[in-house]
């Protein structure tokens, strides 16, 4: 009896682990939600390479990472990189900047050259919505 109870407990403890290991379900994005880079414009030339990127969101709200509120998410800015896989948490790297405190502006200091910027909203677990709430990818130029 005791052994059986322990076995059941062990099996039960395995179930949540298996669930956690699965790909997180993607939250629906509200119809008409739009993510866009307010500034800079595509093709902008940024002397010195230091800028504040202003992140725009229409038809949804901003919420810090970890807070599950329907119709919200938090911003990620993808710098010089393609989109990450959309069915898992957005990576955290120098090319994938997280704004988990609900910030809507990003300070960048970029070296000379061409750079791409794209915004991608993540839910409380940093997973993109379905369909993904993301901006166009723009290119900006930092002169030598």
């Amino acid at each position: 009896m005791k052994i059986r109870a322990l076995t059941t407990a062990a099996l039960l403890s395995l179930v949540p682990a298996a669930l956690v290991a699965q790909e997180p379900a993607r939250k629906p994005a509200p119809e008409g939600a739009r993510v866009y880079i307010i500034w800079p414009a595509d093709g902008a030339v940024i002397p010195g390479g230091a800028l504040w990127v202003r992140m725009g969101l229409q038809g949804m709200g901003v919420a810090p990472a970890g807070s599950a509120v329907a119709g919200t998410g938090h911003h990620h800015l993808i710098v010089d990189s393609d989109l990450p896989p959309l069915d898992e948490p957005i990576p955290n790297s120098p090319n994938h900047l997280h704004f988990g405190a609900g910030h809507t502006e990003a300070r960048l200091e970029l070296p000379p050259g061409r750079h791409t910027l794209q915004m991608l909203l993540g839910d409380e677990n940093h997973v993109p919505h379905d369909p993904p709430a993301m901006s166009e990818r723009i290119t900006i130029i930092v002169p030598e």
Binding site: W52, Q58, V62, A63, G102, E105
Partner: protein
């Protein structure tokens, strides 16, 4: 039994004045910066126009979500600042964006109007110091 009931009534009587008191204001960083991204001060706009809320070095969080360095926007239309030590009123002159929105469309009658942003914490109470924009004046055609 009766003493318990009296105690309950006493506790209720004590709790009510506490709720009505001025609320504690959350601290905000000195460099938190809020501004109206569009329209500009002095702008002439059509009857329905977009307004976006700029927030720098501070975050946005929906009403009810407690975060040490985030709050949600309130747009003050044609009004002075409300008292800063109590929840921001909710009426046509004090628009709440408790869903964490960072822009909206406004429709105002022709004439001059003032706009100002004021961030509130999870309970709609302004921070200390208040995180707010300049008050701008626009003209609706």
């Amino acid at each position: 039994m009766i003493p318990l009931r009296i105690a309950a009534v006493l506790i209720a009587a004590l709790a009510t004045p506490l709720a009505a008191q001025a609320q504690d204001r959350k601290a905000a960083p000195e460099d938190a910066y809020v501004y109206i991204g569009w329209p500009n001060d002095g702008e002439v706009v059509g009857g329905r126009f977009k307004i976006w809320f700029g927030t720098r070095l501070f975050g946005v969080a929906p009403a009810g979500v407690a975060h040490p360095e985030a709050g949600h926007h309130h747009l003050l239309v044609d009004t002075d600042l409300p008292p800063l030590d109590e929840p921001i009123p909710n009426d046509p002159n004090h628009l709440h964006f408790g869903g964490g929105q960072t822009e909206t469309y406004l429709e105002l009658p022709p004439g001059r109007h003032t706009l100002q942003l004021l961030i509130g914490d999870e309970n709609h109470v302004p921070h200390d110091p208040p995180v707010m924009s300049r008050r701008i004046t626009i003209t609706v055609r």
